[in-house]
């Protein structure tokens, strides 16, 4: 990074390089060829995380949920918090690629595929927890409507089947969207690869794409349609997740503001995760000219905006709790959270989600990769806290004081969380290595449009 903040913001939207198409293509394909030591090191590290996750999962499966810290009243705690957290992270991807596509935010082009990959992995991660968290996971398939000999069906008044449908749909659609976008670039990889083996493998995945004008026409249509479908989907998924809580009577859960509130939170943590991943990638693979400071700046601004949506939700919650005069709500929001035994969690969360993001008002912060990276981590931590406080915190202080109880996680709970992070990074690293993570064809297309315009 050489030039001064001022002119760096004025750099063109998608890319500032004078390479011709061939050079650009090779540039974008470089990561697939790189033999980066850092990559191997990280892969090993996250691999260990995967092992931890698998081991503790098996342990839980064999030993029972009792190995966790959960109890009555706090029947949901770490696992569900992790679930909501991962789903939330999964949101930014589709949001960036779909929503911003519809809004014709061209800058999205350089970051959307990374974001989408992040989404897929995160959603997959998230989907593991609800299953693992069942008392009898071997009967998880009972949530599916299938003609059983016991003639009993799932119960669709419950939010869990909604969840099931939402996550299934979200994962499938995100995948189709991601893969559709990927096909032309896979073709490029096919055609640029040296070894015949690689060419054949990518050849199969490229489905024989040959860039025919007629294909391009259908392709554009469907890609647009998918974007159009994915956009309401993004909104719906976390809304449905929020209903896991909102449809109950529990003070702290029972709230009509939850769907937008959760979506905002999801995008907040999602964009934070995009930064967490994008900044190092950009640095390691020298993509400053493709992922320009403008992108980073735009994402940082999104973060700021989301943090204010979140702040609004927080205030709303508190106000409503006070305004309803409902003693149970009031206790949870005005006493248990800010003053209760877990007050320190609450205030950490406030710091991470409310105060820290305000730094983004300063351009210098928005342009300092280091600061942004740190901030993005703080925010994700804060968002995990938020979910934990909502879930476990509310459960631990409900209607009858006699049944109040606190919650203490066990090492299994912690291992599963850490392990799932390892799993996430592991998958992401593989993605970086084997999939062109900057959309090549789109880049070239865009550049042509811009040049044409210019």
């Amino acid at each position: 990074m050489t030039s001064s903040p001022a002119n760096r913001i004025d750099t063109p939207i998608v890319l500032d390089t004078d390479d011709d198409d061939a050079q650009l293509t090779d540039r974008l394909l470089a990561p697939l060829r790189s033999k980066s030591k850092v990559w191997y090191a990280l892969l090993a590290l996250s691999g260990a995380g995967v092992l931890l996750f698998v081991a503790t999962s098996i342990y839980t499966f064999v030993g029972g949920i009792g190995l966790w810290g959960n109890n009555i009243p706090v029947a949901w705690a770490f696992a569900i918090t992790d679930f909501v957290w991962w789903i939330g992270i999964g949101h930014a991807g589709t949001f960036i690629s779909a929503f911003l596509l519809l809004l014709q935010q061209d800058w999205r082009a350089s970051v959307n595929r990374i974001a989408e990959a992040m989404t897929l992995i995160a959603v997959f991660n998230a989907a593991l927890f609800p299953v693992l968290h069942l008392g009898r996971p071997w009967f998880a398939y009972w949530l599916l409507p299938y003609p059983a000999t016991m003639a009993v069906w799932p119960q669709f008044k419950s939010a869990l089947p909604w969840d099931f449908a939402a996550i299934l749909t979200y994962f499938t659609v995100s995948f189709l969207f991601w893969y559709t976008g990927l096909v032309p670039d896979l073709a490029t990889v096919r055609d640029r690869a040296e070894s015949r083996g690689r060419r054949m493998i990518y050849g199969v995945f490229a489905l024989g794409w040959r860039g025919s004008a007629e294909h391009w026409q259908h392709y554009r249509i469907v890609y647009g349609l998918l974007a159009g479908l994915a956009t309401p989907l993004v909104i719906s998924v976390h809304s449905v997740v929020s209903m896991d809580f909102a449809i109950t009577q529990l003070p702290g859960w029972h709230s009509t503001i939850f769907p937008p509130y959760f979506v905002a939170g999801a995008l907040f943590s999602g964009f934070a995760m995009v930064l967490t991943l994008l900044l190092p990638v950009r640095r390691v693979f020298h993509l400053e000219e493709i992922v320009t400071d403008r992108h980073i700046d735009a994402i940082a601004k999104m973060l700021l905006a989301m943090s204010w949506m979140l702040i609004y939700s927080y205030v709303c919650e508190l106000f409503i709790a006070w305004y309803t005069g409902d003693p149970y709500e009031r206790y949870v929001f005005l006493q248990a959270r800010p003053l209760g035994p877990w007050a320190w969690l609450y205030w950490t969360m406030i710091f991470a989600n409310v105060l820290a993001p305000q730094l983004l008002w300063w351009r210098s912060v928005r342009l300092s990769p280091l600061a942004l990276f740190a901030l993005s981590l703080v925010i994700q931590f804060g968002m995990w806290m938020e979910r934990f406080i909502i879930i476990a915190g509310s459960l631990s202080r409900d209607f009858l004081p006699a049944s109040w109880a606190d919650y203490r996680p066990t090492w299994v709970d912690l291992s599963l969380l850490v392990g799932s992070i390892g799993l996430f990074l592991f998958a992401f690293l593989l993605f970086l290595r084997f999939v062109p993570f900057i959309p090549i064809a789109e880049m070239k297309g865009l550049r042509r449009e811009i040049r044409g315009a210019a």
Partner: protein, 960 residues
């Protein structure tokens, strides 16, 4: 009684066609079929092992019920025991028996688990020697009536005091044959204060029997009559009947309690005065002074004037006195068992003066030895030191653990040349003895017992002895060299003298009582001459500022005898909600003074002993007083009991068996004190109207001040079509004492597992029915209110609509059904249950236990697998059983035909259960009371369980 009650002309096992041991081993063989399991995997082809010749009284699949008697502290309580394919599975009360009146307490309920305890002594063993009864007999037994009076010198029996006619008659016969044989009676459960008090007041030891149903005013001088008394089930019922409100007009008795520790009786008090146990005598004296007219108590004037001037809590005394005077002949003053003779004497005096003798209190000849057990034991110790005892046979009890510390009795036992212990467990005493003999559980043995009003009843077995055991009576007979030695023969022999014996035998076995055997009342005339000296003796007492230490029998393990019973260990203490252990209870001020909080420890030194025990601060506990529950820190070989809690016997001496006026007490701030396993952490209601209460006056004036009307919001949904009976329950908080009998009853009926100390610490207790306990009233002198809390069977159940797999749904007769075998364990239902009454099987709690414990399981209730939810079902198995019964008889269910386990056990009948479909059913009527309300009704859950607000009856001259 639910189900079929067979005429018990033949007892369970005494003659042909009996349940042999093999029979129920068969039942275990087909046990998989008998006890339902949650497991869902198809096993290989099962075997069915039918009887070779089916015993006439056994019908597989149909429960039979037999009457028997459980003896505790020397007195019997009549019971009816449910029997499945020859296995006793559930203990219930016997309405014909005066000590039960149909109810059964925690100990009775839990005793069935004791029967199957895998830790029981199985075979007679001599330490490092041969085993077998014959060897024992040849070592210890006397030969019938040979060799004159000298024979038997050196042979000594140590028993627990008992009122059993059989045991007493055997002792007499042995004494007659061998005068030299020694007998000593010792048990920490035996109290002689009452008899001393009677001796003082009336000139001879007598035993008081109260009739609380006729008492308008009850004053308890540190007497926990509702929970810790051989007659507590009866007294609790009488007390409840005296304050049960059906309409606002109904009358209500008034209860005054002065006590140090919070007891269930204190919890029910209209006016409770928290005072050091040692100061109760003062209050008693003051009360006497304030109640009696000068001429009534002329001889005591000097004492009383002093008392009055220095009497504490004057207002309490004045109010009580006023009420006592107003209710002449309808009042009763009861002194606590642990209180000294003086207090009992005063109580007797007051009752005499108020003309209560003959109405609310009567006296009978004592049924237990009047000698204080500590003295008796001292004599035995002396005899041992004098080498006068070379054969010691200890029949039951656990003196090595429970004897006063300064007796160092354990060592003394070891000094005896040959000593034998007969009992259920390898406890401390067993370890001290050279011979350990398997005793019989009362469900295995023949015998008889007397209730504490003298009513006799038979003990009849429901199952052949599981192990090679003998009953106390049998061992007595054998060792005493008596001709007959089978308990069955002995008991028949004893009672065969009665006219028309065969009929009496049959009838008594069936009804569970022997009619007209209650002791006749004897006249008791007050004589001040005896009272004065005891009062004078009572004058010198501890200084005001010194901290007294009192010992209490633990409400769950008593003196430690039930410490190996997991149900009782996991039963929350009625006041502190502590499980799996004991703690020193003390008031907030005292705690401050010692610089400690709940969880820290107090270290107490007295009489050469020193103990250190975690403390629990209990608001409402008398200040400058510490209560130590006995019965923990057991060091025997019982696996459950061992090292649970702290043993406080080391500082309990002959001189101060109940109250230490001034011990050396030190507070110890333990930084890393292991937390106490309590099932409730928060004892205030945070101003939420959960357990509602109000005064009788307020209730009469305007019930809406206690239960506001129409608080249940109207529902937007169409009412769901209901058909047939609509089950519902009401719980009357006015009479619920929090004794917890219902909790154990539920546990026994519904195969509820225990989770152990770690489980409770993680807040994973499995009780379907818990008793929430809140403080109300002023902080300095709080009241407690107990609220049984189980599934409320909401008509708009929040748990149901969140279940993704239809595992919890609603039945047409209004039950919130929990289908274990459909549950996948999302626990969503629990999250959405406002009452948090759902329990989750975090581990496989039920399948790891020893097979012998499976025999207790109720075959009508599925044993739950790991990972499924469970909760109160309103005893659906009983509902369905009764329903099928009625349907096969082509008739409708009658009101009261279905009785839930909790309802059945409740001594005060606080629980009503029935169908709303019948508008005249008791439950419908109780629901129509103005004080009936739904907990959290404003949530619109429309619970089927309703509560009747607790009404208490304070004196108008006292502010509450």
């Amino acid at each position: 009684m639910t189900g079929s009650r067979q005429p018990l002309v033949h007892s369970a096992v005494d003659d042909a066609g009996s349940v042999t041991r093999r029979d129920f081993l068969r039942v275990i063989g087909s046990g998989v079929a008998v006890a339902g399991l949650g497991a869902c995997i198809e096993p290989p082809r099962e075997r069915i092992l039918p009887y070779t010749a089916r015993p006439p009284e056994i019908t597989p699949g149909i429960a039979t019920y037999y009457a028997t008697t459980m003896t505790l502290g020397g007195f019997g309580t009549g019971l009816v025991v449910e029997c499945r394919e020859g296995r006793p599975t559930k203990v219930e009360g016997n309405q014909h028996h005066p000590a039960s009146l149909g109810a059964a307490g925690v100990f009775e309920q839990a005793s069935v688990l004791e029967l199957y305890d895998p830790d029981r002594v199985r075979t007679p063993r001599q330490r490092g020697g041969v085993g077998g009864w014959d060897a024992f007999v040849s070592d210890f037994a006397l030969t019938p009536a040979s060799g004159g009076t000298e024979q038997g010198r050196g042979l000594h029996f140590l028993l627990e005091p008992t009122a059993s006619p059989l045991t007493l008659s055997l002792i007499d016969r042995i004494r007659a044959l061998h005068p030299a044989v020694g007998f000593t009676f010792y048990s920490p459960l035996a109290f002689t204060g009452a008899m001393e008090g009677a001796r003082a007041a009336f000139g001879r030891p007598l035993q008081p029997i109260y009739d609380l149903s006729r008492a308008a005013v009850i004053v308890s001088l540190d007497a926990d009559v509702l929970d810790a008394h051989p007659f507590c089930l009866r007294y609790a019922r009488q007390f409840a009947d005296g304050r049960r409100l059906r309409t606002r007009r109904d009358g209500m008795n008034r209860l005054y309690v002065v006590e140090s520790a919070f007891t269930t009786t204190g919890g029910m008090a209209d006016h409770r005065l928290a005072l050091r146990a040692g100061d109760v005598a003062d209050v008693a004296t003051a009360l006497l002074a304030a109640t009696a007219t000068p001429e009534e108590v002329r001889p005591l004037i000097p004492l009383l004037s002093r008392a009055q001037s220095e009497g504490p809590a004057t207002s309490w005394v004045r109010a009580a006195a006023a009420d006592l005077r107003a209710a002449r002949g309808q009042s009763v003053v009861i002194a606590g068992a642990e209180q000294p003779a003086a207090v009992h004497a005063i109580a007797n005096a007051l009752n005499a003066i108020l003309g209560s003798i003959g109405t609310t209190v009567r006296f009978i000849e004592p049924l237990l030895p009047a000698e204080a057990p500590e003295h008796a034991l001292t004599a035995l110790a002396a005899a041992i030191d004098a080498r006068a005892v070379d054969k010691l046979i200890i029949l039951g009890g656990n003196p090595s653990c429970t004897a006063p510390a300064d007796l160092r009795f354990s060592e003394r036992i070891r000094n005896v040349r040959s000593k034998a212990y007969l009992g259920l467990y390898h406890n401390e005493t067993a370890l001290d003895c050279s011979w350990v003999l398997p005793g019989l559980h009362y469900l295995e043995s023949w015998g008889d017992a007397r209730a504490c009003d003298g009513t006799a009843s038979f003990v009849q077995p429901l199952i052949r002895p599981l192990y090679d055991g003998r009953s106390v009576d049998e061992v007595l007979a054998v060792c005493g060299g008596l001709p007959t030695t089978s308990a069955h023969a002995l008991v028949r022999e004893l009672w065969s003298t009665q006219p028309d014996f065969q009929a009496l035998w049959a009838r008594s076995l069936e009804r569970g009582v022997i009619e007209n055997t209650a002791s006749p009342p004897v006249s008791a005339a007050l004589d001040w001459a005896g009272v004065l000296p005891v009062l004078a003796a009572e004058r010198q007492r501890a200084a005001r500022d010194s901290i007294e230490v009192t010992f209490r029998l633990d409400p769950k393990t008593l003196d430690g005898r039930f410490a190996n019973n997991p149900w009782l260990q996991e039963l929350p203490h009625p006041i502190t909600k502590l499980t799996w252990g004991n703690a020193a209870l003390l008031g907030p001020e005292t705690a401050k003074r010692l610089g400690i909080e709940t969880g820290d420890e107090v270290s107490i030194a007295f009489g050469g002993g020193r103990i250190s025990i975690p403390a629990i601060v209990v608001p409402g506990h008398a200040e400058s007083s510490i209560t130590l529950p006995l019965g923990y820190g057991r060091s025997g070989e019982e696996r459950v009991a061992r090292d649970v809690g702290v043993n406080v016997y080391p500082i309990r001496t002959r001189g101060a068996p109940f109250i230490i006026p001034d011990a050396v007490v030190r507070g110890v701030k333990t930084g890393s004190s292991e937390p106490l396993a309590t099932t409730q952490g928060h004892f205030t209601m945070e101003g939420r109207a959960i357990a509602r209460e109000g005064t009788l006056a307020a209730y009469r004036a305007d019930p809406r001040t206690i239960v506001p009307p129409h608080e249940i919001a109207p529902s937007l949904y169409e009412p769901v079509a209901q058909s047939g009976d609509q089950w519902a329950m009401t719980i009357d908080l006015s009479v619920c004492t929090g004794c917890s009998a219902c909790v154990i009853a539920c546990q026994a009926e519904n195969n509820i597992p225990v989770v152990g100390r770690e489980g409770v610490l993680k807040r994973r207790e499995m009780h379907w029915l818990r008793i929430d306990r809140y403080y109300t009233g002023p902080a300095e002198n709080p009241r407690v209110i107990s609220q049984p809390m189980a599934c409320q069977h909401c008509e708009k159940a929040p748990c149901e609509y969140v279940c993704p797999v239809n595992a919890t749904v609603h039945s047409p007769d209004g039950l919130n059904e929990m289908v274990y075998n459909r549950c996948v364990g999302t626990r969503f239902c629990s999250n959405n249950c406002p009452y948090k009454v759902r329990r989750f099987n975090w581990f496989d709690y039920s399948f790891g236990v020893p097979a012998v414990l499976w025999m207790q399981r109720n075959p009508d209730v599925t044993v739950r697998e790991r990972g499924v939810m469970e909760k109160c079902t309103y005893c659906v198995q009983r509902i369905r059983r009764a329903g099928i019964q009625a349907a096969t008889e082509r008739r409708a269910l009658r009101d009261g035909e279905v009785v839930t386990a909790c309802q059945q056990a409740c001594p005060t009948r606080a629980i009503t259960f029935g169908s709303l479909d019948d508008v005249d059913s008791e439950v419908s009527r109780s629901r129509r009371q103005e004080r009936s309300y739904a907990v959290l009704g404003e949530l619109g859950t429309e619970p089927r369980t309703r509560y009747l607000a607790r009404i208490f009856n304070p004196s108008p001259d006292l502010t509450v």
